[in-house]
């Protein structure tokens, strides 16, 4: 059974298209990250799911019920806003109890439930604090507790951690993920931070210019990006343009690669992650090896980044310090691109053709 189904959900502002028809199935209990650069339509998509933005087209279902036209206040979704949107005239406890008050829960039960929720987000005994007396991290927790007060069917968060400093943000990512796992609640987070998405998500939805490029697990998105945009946006990658010959070989600048499972012959884009590139400190040839010159070495302690000039193009390799080739910058080296690590992508946007 599918919890949430987006069927061609679109949003247009006049002639500007914010979201092209977005189609997605989100099963129960999944942690989903809508990931993309700013202005890619991810927040608009989240707001349409929340009912704060009226879709220009498409439908939205929850448990096979069409809720496209349902107003936000009847949807039973909890949402955390980027600004957090805590009510300044209420205390932390009253903020958390607000949805209960609206539902007509008795004052005593409101206090009891608010205290439980504040305990859950590790703010015990803070119920009487005014919002203005809370730190950024504490406000964050109050906003989360408030959104979860009614045990919503769907938990939506719009760049919830963007206001926190880097260290606190990492800690909150892990905490948020643990909270979600404990409650088993279907969660959708909007973020532009790919590390955040990789940390928390079961399903990463990569968006750009109003379109969903790929919706898959973090590992899948990283290992098997659907297109050049995804490959480039998630982590670092080397992109090489090449010509497939139809017999399993691909000619790229600097040499020819043998990719056994490749089919078809056309111009394609090859993507390979820096950590998959093997650098040999000699000029020996071999299968899937390209000759080049080591141009720059960056020692990052835990890893070594090597930049190699191959036929005028730079290929970046990241190696473990113990695998570092003992050659100085300027020396000839060869780079090996293992076939199983190569992903072939279409030159234009579309779906990936897998090399392995």
């Amino acid at each position: 059974m599918s919890a949430l189904v987006l069927d061609g959900l679109a949003k247009r502002y006049g002639s500007v298209v914010a979201v092209h028809g977005a189609t997605l199935r989100i099963p129960h209990g999944q942690f989903v990250c809508l990931l993309g650069p700013s202005g890619c339509g991810k927040t608009t998509l989240l707001r349409m799911i929340a009912g704060l933005e009226e879709p220009s087209g498409g439908r939205l279902f929850i448990d096979d019920r069409n809720i496209t036209e349902m107003p936000a206040h009847k949807r039973d979704f909890g949402m955390v806003f980027q600004s957090l949107a805590l009510f300044p005239h209420l205390t932390a406890g009253e903020n958390v109890a607000y949805p209960l008050r609206i539902r007509g829960v008795s004052a005593a039960d409101q206090r009891k439930r608010a205290a439980e929720l504040l305990d859950m987000v590790q703010l015990p005994g803070m119920a009487d604090r005014p919002v203005s007396k809370l730190s950024g991290g504490q406000r964050q927790r109050v906003a989360i507790a408030r959104a979860l007060a009614l045990s919503p069917k769907l938990f939506l968060l719009d760049e919830p951690l963007s206001a926190l400093d880097a260290k606190l943000r990492e800690a909150m990512q892990i905490e948020l993920k643990q909270l979600q796992q404990r409650l088993g609640i279907t969660t959708i987070v909007v973020t532009h931070d790919q590390r955040e998405a990789m940390t928390m998500a079961d399903l990463v939805v990569v968006m750009s210019q109003g379109r969903i490029h790929q919706a898959a697990s973090p590992v899948e998105v990283y290992r098997r990006p659907a297109d050049a945009f995804v490959a480039d946006f998630i982590g670092m990658t080397n992109l090489l343009e090449g010509e497939a010959a139809g017999n399993g070989t691909l000619s790229v600048p600097g040499g020819t690669l043998v990719l056994p499972e490749m089919t078809g012959n056309s111009r394609v884009l090859l993507s390979i992650r820096p950590e998959d590139v093997v650098v040999h400190g000699n000029a020996e040839g071999g299968p899937n090896r390209l000759a080049g010159r080591l141009s720059f070495v960056r020692d990052l302690g835990a890893s070594v980044e090597l930049r190699i000039d191959v036929a005028g193009r730079e290929i970046v390799a990241v190696a473990h310090p113990k695998d570092r080739p003992s050659v100085a910058p300027g020396s000839p080296v060869t780079v090996e691109l293992p076939p199983q690590a190569c992903v072939l992508l279409p030159l234009a946007t579309g779906h990936a053709e897998r090399a392995a």
Binding site: A50, G51, L52, P71, A72, H73, R75, D76, F77, G78, M79, F81, Q82, S83, A85, L86, F87, P88, H89, L90, Y98, P99, R101, I102, R103, R146, A147, A149, L150, L156
Partner: protein
Amino acid sequence: MIRRPPRTLAEHAPILFPALMLIVFFVIPFGLMIAVSFFRRVQGGFYEPDFVLANYERFLSAFFGNVLSFSLMLAGLVAVVAVAIAFPFTYRLVRLPHPAQVRWLVFLLSVLSLSEVIIGFAWSTLLSRTAGITNLLVAVGLMEAPQSLSPGFGALLAGLVYQAFPYTVLVLYPALARFDFSLMEAARTLGSSPARAFFTVLVPALRNTIVGTVIMAFVFALGSYLLPQLLGRPQHWTLSVLITDQAIYQSNMPFAAAMAVFLVLVSLALVGLALILGRREGSQ
């Protein structure tokens, strides 16, 4: 920047000028008025320095008590009605596109430039039997015959609210323009209908602004002395009308001063009370 409180005379210098202005143009005239209110009136239009309580004693009658309570009730009603209309209006206004907001604000400022006399006569024409809006109602078949709606309490209330409205909008505007409307969206995702969110989030979050605006409109309406005469019947004349009458037409400055001082004290007491009540509710 000096972060500690000023100590020497030189450090106090920047506030000396405004302080001097305040003393010369506010404290001294008000002090003179208090002094005059204890002076003795001399028949024939003058008064001489003295210390008599007769002016205040004369005031303690059922007639002036009624006028005073009517004045306060009218000003309070005007303030509440003006804010009740201006608040939703401004709420809509700040959500309009910027050029439309500017047009509305220019329009409201131009209303402010109208004199009280013009407003009074315009409303009395608008509410008259011969040329008033009741003719329109007759034309569309809602009324049998045209009626005169002015002078009367309704006409007076309408005129005063009309006059106070631009001020209330201009006082509410900055607070509403700064308001974070994601609070309203948050309220909606938490189960509040838009109307419910308006009353459970917007109004309480802007309580202090609203109370402040009501007080401003109250004080503003309390000082009106022309509109009650143009749009009201004699029983609708406010204390300000009587003060003007005593000061200008009866030439009884001591009595006018006593009434004015009393009016200031009563309004200060009411404003103080409103603030205290507001604070107590706010701390709950």
